[in-house]
């Protein structure tokens, strides 16, 4: 029944690679691969896993792991300038592109969502009570708005987006920053107009320089700085008094 010659391909001698993550690198037009265990490569790169045997299935460099084609010596020598398989494996582990395994992806996502939530909780307050939200509360609110993670953008950017998305759902607001500005008397009048659109002024005094204390949106800090420092040639100053202005908390807050 079988065709003449050649190996009969039956399920028993077919080796399926189920616990495998391939790391591949392209060098000098050639593709090299190594066979690693799943969920281990990232740990290795983060230097959490220190045992190489726990990462590599075998210290062999392949040209195609799934076909079981081992790289030829001369190719290795040509591309890596060495014959030492272990050293090459290490290099590929460091530089190669890898398949992210399920658990790794999951752990990454979870950490990112947590971080985004903690950034939001750190930056925002409930404007009704002037108290911060806890991380878990933000997380549940994020679940409510069906927040989905974008792995390509960094967490801080996404956190700022989340704040905007949350605003219609729950009362939330960027916590305001308290700053103090001193503007030389000469430019004071002119600049005060310009500045007052960004700042809710708490106190001001001319003595004779204008001394302003007020709350600003943290996003406006740069704009303000440029607005007052440019025209005064750096004689005006702006300084941060508190990064996050909120009401008192404590036992007395509730009774």
């Amino acid at each position: 029944m079988s065709r003449s010659g050649g190996k009969i391909f039956t399920p028993t001698n077919q080796i399926r690679l189920t616990n495998i993550a391939v790391v591949r690198v392209k060098k000098a037009g050639k593709r090299f691969e190594i066979a690693c265990y799943k969920n281990k490569v990232l740990s290795w790169r983060q230097k959490v896993e220190k045992d190489l045997d726990e990462v590599l299935q075998s210290e062999t460099v392949f040209t195609n792991v799934s076909k079981g084609q081992v790289a030829k010596k001369e190719e290795l020598l040509k591309c890596f300038k060495t014959e030492d398989q272990r050293a090459i494996c290490l290099e590929i582990l460091e530089k190669g592109e890898l398949q992210v395994s399920d658990k790794e992806r999951h752990a990454n996502q979870e950490a990112s969502v947590k971080e985004i939530a903690s950034i939001v909780s750190d930056k925002c307050i409930n404007p009704e009570t002037k108290t911060p939200y806890t991380v878990s509360m933000i997380e549940s609110a994020m679940r409510d708005i069906h927040f989905s993670l974008n792995p390509k953008r960094n967490n801080k950017q996404q956190a700022l987006d989340v704040i905007k998305q949350l605003a219609p759902v729950i009362p939330i607001q960027r916590a305001q920053m308290k700053v103090r500005m001193t503007i030389p008397a000469k430019e004071a009048k002119k600049l005060r107009e310009k500045v007052s659109q960004y700042i809710t002024i708490e106190s001001e005094a001319f003595e004779p320089d204008l001394n302003l204390v007020g709350l600003i949106d943290p996003g406006h800090f740069r704009t303000l700085e440029e607005a007052i420092i440019g025209p005064t040639k750096g004689r005006a100053t702006i300084e941060v008094l508190t990064l996050k202005e909120m009401t008192d908390t404590g036992d007395s807050a509730l009774t």
Binding site: R16, Y37, I116, L243
Partner: protein
């Protein structure tokens, strides 16, 4: 002896309120499941509020859903009962209290309102932990106790003791109780060394010895005792010990509905045996036996030695056993009938025919030895009446033990008389104590006039008006219809009227709608929580609509009186200035009848009542009075302090305001719960235990907040610090030379300075641990530091500068009122502040000098404090090219190129100290020394602008430069985690001390002090416990010590956890000891990982531990 029956006590109670001498306020207290509520049932049944047959099973006093489900009492509740006997009618206000540890605060609030207590002890279980607690509580509050030995039926039926063994068993339990009473007495005695106590003690001892002498005399003589010799002095001891012959002990089975005291049997038997009642009274309990020599019955002592059965066995227990035997064991119908004839009890046909023998027994015993009269009689005879408040107790209520009574103002001292006389005249001052607030839904209040009036008047809606209007209008509509139908001949009129009808229909619908709305509103209003104050009137008569002063727990009469002494007129306005005084109107008075409330017009002295209309001004407890001279009642001695902390939050963040309001209500309704809002934004409730927590959460969800709530462990704060590099390793071997195998840091600078030289310029910083004395000083004077270093530019000589940055921070430390005052007298405050700051500076300087070395000149180099400008971390300026004013001096404008970036650098420092590299928690006790900082030469600025601003560097870049490098400098040192520590005081008996130690050890705790308390067998142990390990600590401790240990946790201090979170074997010794893998658990690491995980930071944890053990998808593939 007639027990109020049938008609319900409610009608009779007002009549009985007349005489305070006939009022008894008492509470039932015991260990959990010893039968308090069953006993209360029997007493309630005697007043006909529930069926006699249901008594002992229905648990009338437990009305809360949770209470019924779990079968334990959680809230103390009150019922007023009438009891009459030939010498008078009595009013008994009975408070049933919970027995579970978690609710011991409820017991405390109940005890305060009472004059007497019924202590119930399960004879099978004996004296338990809570029994001791309640005895102690009664003792501390000066409340006279009486004893009920409950569940004697269990001795007969379950343990099957012989009557003699049964007697000895009961005697033993009684002894245990008395032994504890003696211990309490001794402890108090040793605790107070005042001369008065000494005097009392000698007096007592004299009496005791006298009594002993007499007893032993009578014992030795084997002759019949002449009881005339027994002096009155012996009965004087009755306030201390329980003894059946004195009548303050009742033997009972609340389940079977029977109970008796020795007196009862003495009465019964004296007729039967023809003996003197008095003699029987003395001898029925004790080591006496009866002989019948020559036909004459005589009572002799020394039953035990002669192996005779004591009287209690032969005359009482054997009879009891006989009844139980016949009904429950033999189950012989005829015998039972015979028995019922003998005892003179009629069993109804329905019962005698039934096969429920327990029911039969219940009838028989209840008929023979009814429980309620026995207990009530004892209570009336042995517990003081409401008017009978001793001078001592009055003084104790008015001023705490730490103050002298004489120190109170004269007017106040005079009020003592009011307590003692318990007068209810109009002229008598009103004194009412509110011990707790409890919520009921408004619909459960009796439908009374005041309630309705309050509703319509309170602007809740014009429900009633609309209803009446509606009727009138409807009538009109009907009439009109009739008229139109009469004139239906005319077409024009018809069409008109059709329009009219449509119009009317519309109106009608609108009216209906209005009505529905009003009804809804009313329904909502009815379901609202109304808080009722659980209160006792000590003097005067409280009437509905009366205005009284509500004095908060912190009210001090002396300050008020001195203020008001000049003009006798008490000015309403002036009173508002005192924050502990409110005026309030009594909206309603209620008599509490278990689940129901009965409306009252007035409440004379001696009563325990519910008061409405106080929720606005009473939070948990308060004193109501008609005079301001009344001091606040002393604080309740709470049996349990709340210890179990959890964070609560709503599922939906939009429900937060509801949760907030709910927490406020909960705080008011429960004396033993604390609520707080943490700076992280989480709401924390602190409860006494797990069951208590569960109830609080249920209450919040269903009653107070009405939204779904979840609970979690609260967030525990940590601090990060650095320590000097240790010179020895974990095995106490020196880390030096050959010994060192692994170099941990790759930094070659021995001091760990970080140097960067990049596009932004050159910066060299070094982190150094602050001397501990300096850290401590900074922590203690945080408020002062914030005044100095808030911004780095304010200074002590020029504080008039209205920097509102400082105001915001001061709010933490100053009360709101103080702040307002402070703003007015800014000038004055400043002067004080300046001196305080100068003091702080000098003490800081001293601390630095003591530390010596490089700290010598540190005081003048301080650049800023952090985080938030006031924390226990310091930034030092040692830049050679940049001379800057220190925080202590007036700001000067410097023309150094660094000056424009000064504040940005400080901001970076603040951010770095706010979130350290270990787990983003604030730093503590760290000093950053900036050794050099210079900006990169500006490339595109002209020489003229050189010292104004380097344009291509923004302040943000400087902030991140300083932040990153300070963090890096921190990481170069030996980093340590700092844990918050609780100090924990536990007192337990010596049997379980060992178990307690092991629990503390398991939780990383450290015992600092443990000693036996003088005069008792209990140990007092003080230990430190990390806050992070305290979750569930109390519960575990309670479990492992069989409920004896009750830890009291108070925040104590911050402590450096002396484990390197990044530890790995470093020296040869360590390597041989732990090996390369060193896989023993690292506690510091564990804490850090937990925090990092919570915050979503990267953790050094492998996603998969063993690569080979990952499951393949399917075998066949």
């Amino acid at each position: 002896m007639v027990v109020g029956s049938g008609g319900g006590s409610a009608q009779r109670v007002p009549r009985l309120m007349g005489n305070p001498a006939n009022i008894r306020n008492l509470c039932i207290m015991a260990h959990v499941d010893h039968g308090k509520t069953s006993l209360a049932d029997a007493l309630v049944a005697s007043n006909g509020l529930i069926n006699q047959r249901q008594a002992g099973r229905i648990r009338y006093m437990d009305s809360h859903k949770e209470e019924i489900e779990r079968g334990i009492t959680m809230k103390s509740s009150c019922v007023s009962l009438a009891y009459s006997r030939p010498d008078g009618d009595y009013l008994v206000n009975l408070i049933d209290s919970p027995g579970h540890v978690d609710f011991s605060s409820e017991v405390s609030t109940a005890v305060r309102l009472c004059d007497g207590a019924i202590i119930v002890v399960d004879v099978v279980e004996g004296v338990c932990a809570q029994t001791k607690v309640v005895l102690r509580q009664a003792w501390l509050e000066d409340i006279r106790p009486v004893l009920v030995l409950n569940k004697i039926d269990r001795l007969v039926l379950e343990t099957k003791l012989s009557p003699l063994d049964c007697y000895y068993h009961i005697a033993q339990v009684l002894e245990q109780v008395n032994a504890y009473m003696g211990e309490l007495y001794n402890t108090t005695l040793l605790g107070k060394s005042s001369t008065e106590m000494e005097r009392q003690k000698t007096e007592r001892e004299r009496r005791a010895s006298e009594r002993e002498r007499k007893v032993s005399e009578s014992m030795t003589s084997d002759t019949p005792i002449n009881f005339a010799d027994w002096g009155i002095e012996t009965t004087d001891d009755s306030d201390l010990y329980f003894s059946p012959e004195l009548g303050n002990v009742v033997f009972a089975s609340a389940y079977d509905g029977w109970g008796f005291s020795i007196h009862h049997f003495a009465n019964l038997l004296s007729a039967k045996l023809g003996m003197n009642k008095e003699v029987l009274n003395k001898t029925l309990w004790g080591d006496y036996y009866i002989t019948s020599k020559g036909g004459e019955k005589r009572i002799m002592s020394g039953a035990r030695d002669k192996r005779k059965n004591p009287l209690f066995v032969t005359l009482i227990l054997e009879n009891l056993y006989k009844v139980y035997n016949t009904v429950m064991v033999q189950k012989d119908k005829k015998e039972v009938e015979k028995l019922s004839d003998v005892l003179g009890v009629k069993i109804p046909m329905t019962v005698s025919k039934s096969t429920d023998h327990r029911n039969k027994l219940n009838f028989l015993m209840n008929g023979w030895l009814p429980l309620a009269p026995a207990v009530l009689e004892m209570a009336v005879d042995h517990l003081p009446s409401a008017s009978d408040i001793s001078e001592e107790r009055a003084m104790k209520l008015m001023c705490s033990a730490t103050h002298r009574f004489d120190s109170l103002p004269q007017q106040t001292q005079e009020l003592k008389q009011a307590f003692i006389s318990c007068s209810r005249n109009e002229t008598a001052p009103i004194i009412v104590y509110v011990s707790k607030m409890f919520g009921v839904q408004r619909k459960n209040l009796p439908q009374d006039q005041s309630g309705r009036a309050a509703f319509t008047g309170g602007g809740g809606g014009q429900g009633m008006v609309t209803e009446e209007d509606l009727l009138a209008r409807r009538e009109e509509i009907r009439r009109r219809r009739e008229t139109t139908s009469c004139h239906d001949g005319s077409a024009t009129e018809l069409s008109l009227s059709e329009d009219e009808v449509a119009e009317m229909k519309r109106k009608h619908e609108q009216l209906l709608e209005d009505k529905r709305k009003a009804e809804e509103e009313r329904q909502k209003w009815l379901e609202e929580e109304v808080f009722i104050a659980f209160a006792r009137v000590f003097s005067g008569t409280l009437t509905v609509g009366q205005k009284v002063y509500v004095l908060g727990p912190k009210h001090d009469p002396s300050t008020v009186l001195s203020h008001l002494s000049e003009d006798k007129e008490i000015d309403e306005e002036e009173i508002k200035n005192f924050k502990h005084i409110h005026t309030c109107e009594v909206n309603g008075l209620y008599l509490m009848l278990g689940r129901e409330l009965e409306q009252l017009e007035c409440a004379p002295a001696g009563l325990v009542v519910g008061i409405t209309g106080l929720e606005g001004c009473v939070i948990k407890s308060a004193t109501l009075s008609s005079t301001l001279a009344m001091p606040a009642f002393t604080e309740l001695t709470l049996g349990a302090t709340p210890i179990l902390r959890v964070a609560v939050e709503t599922h939906d963040p939009r429900d937060l305001p509801k949760l907030r309001a709910g927490l406020k209500l909960l705080n008011q309704a429960d004396p033993c719960v604390q609520v707080a809002l943490q700076s992280s934004g989480e709401y924390v409730i602190v409860t006494a235990g797990e069951i208590h927590l569960q109830r609080c959460v249920d209450d919040l969800q269903e009653r107070y907040a009405g939204v779904p709530i979840k609970t979690s462990d609260p967030i525990v704060p940590f601090r990060e610090t650095i320590i000097p590099r240790p010179t020895v390793d974990r095995l106490n071997e020196a880390i030096e030379g050959e010994n060192v195998n692994v170099r941990k840091t790759d930094n070659n600078d021995p001091l760990g300075a970080v140097e960067v030289n990049g596009r932004l310029g050159k910066l060299t910083v070094r982190a150094v641990p602050l001397p501990s004395s300096v850290t401590l000083l900074l922590q203690q004077h945080e408020d002062m530091v914030s005044l100095v270093g808030g911004t780095g530019t304010t200074d002590s000589t020029d504080l008039q500068d209205p920097a509102s940055g400082k105001e915001g921070e001061k709010e933490d430390t100053l009360q709101m009122q103080d702040l307002a005052k402070a703003l007015e007298n800014r000038q004055k405050l400043n002067r004080e502040a300046v001196t305080a700051i100068a003091q702080l500076k000098s003490s800081l300087d001293k601390a630095f000098q003591e530390a010596g070395g490089e700290w010598k000149n540190a005081i003048n180099e301080i650049w800023s404090f952090g985080p938030d400008g006031r924390g226990p971390n310091i930034l030092l300026n040692r830049i050679p090219a940049y001379t800057r004013h220190s925080v202590w001096e007036k700001a000067t404008t410097s023309d150094s190129p660094l000056a424009p970036y000064d504040t940005s650098f400080v901001t970076g420092f603040q951010m770095a100290t706010k979130a350290g590299p270990l787990c983003e928690e604030p730093m503590m006790g760290v000093c950053f020394v900036v050794e050099d900082w210079s900006l990169a030469p500006a490339t595109n600025t002209g020489p003229s602008e050189e010292n104004t601003r380097t344009v291509n560097i923004s302040s943000g870049q400087i902030i991140s430069l300083s932040k990153d490098n300070l963090r890096k400098a921190f990481e170069q040192q030996c980093q340590r985690l700092v844990c918050a520590m609780y100090s924990c005081v536990i007192s337990v008996t010596s049997e379980v001390v060992g178990k307690m130690y092991s629990v503390i050890g398991k939780r990383q705790g450290r015992v600092v002090d443990g000693d036996i308390t003088e005069g008792s067998t209990s140990w007092n142990v003080t230990a430190y416990l990390p806050v992070v390990e305290s979750m569930n600590f109390a519960n575990e401790l309670r479990k492992s010590t069989s409920g004896e240990a009750m830890p009291q946790l108070v925040f104590s201090h911050w402590e450096v956890l002396d484990i390197d979170p990044f530890w790995e074997p470093q020296t040869t010794e360590e390597l041989t000891h732990w090996g390369e893998k060193f896989d023993s658990a690292n506690v510091a690491r564990k804490y850090i990982n937990a925090v990092r995980k919570r915050k979503g930071l990267a953790i050094d944890e492998k996603i998969v531990e063993f690569a080979e053990k990952q499951r393949t998808l399917s075998k066949n593939k």
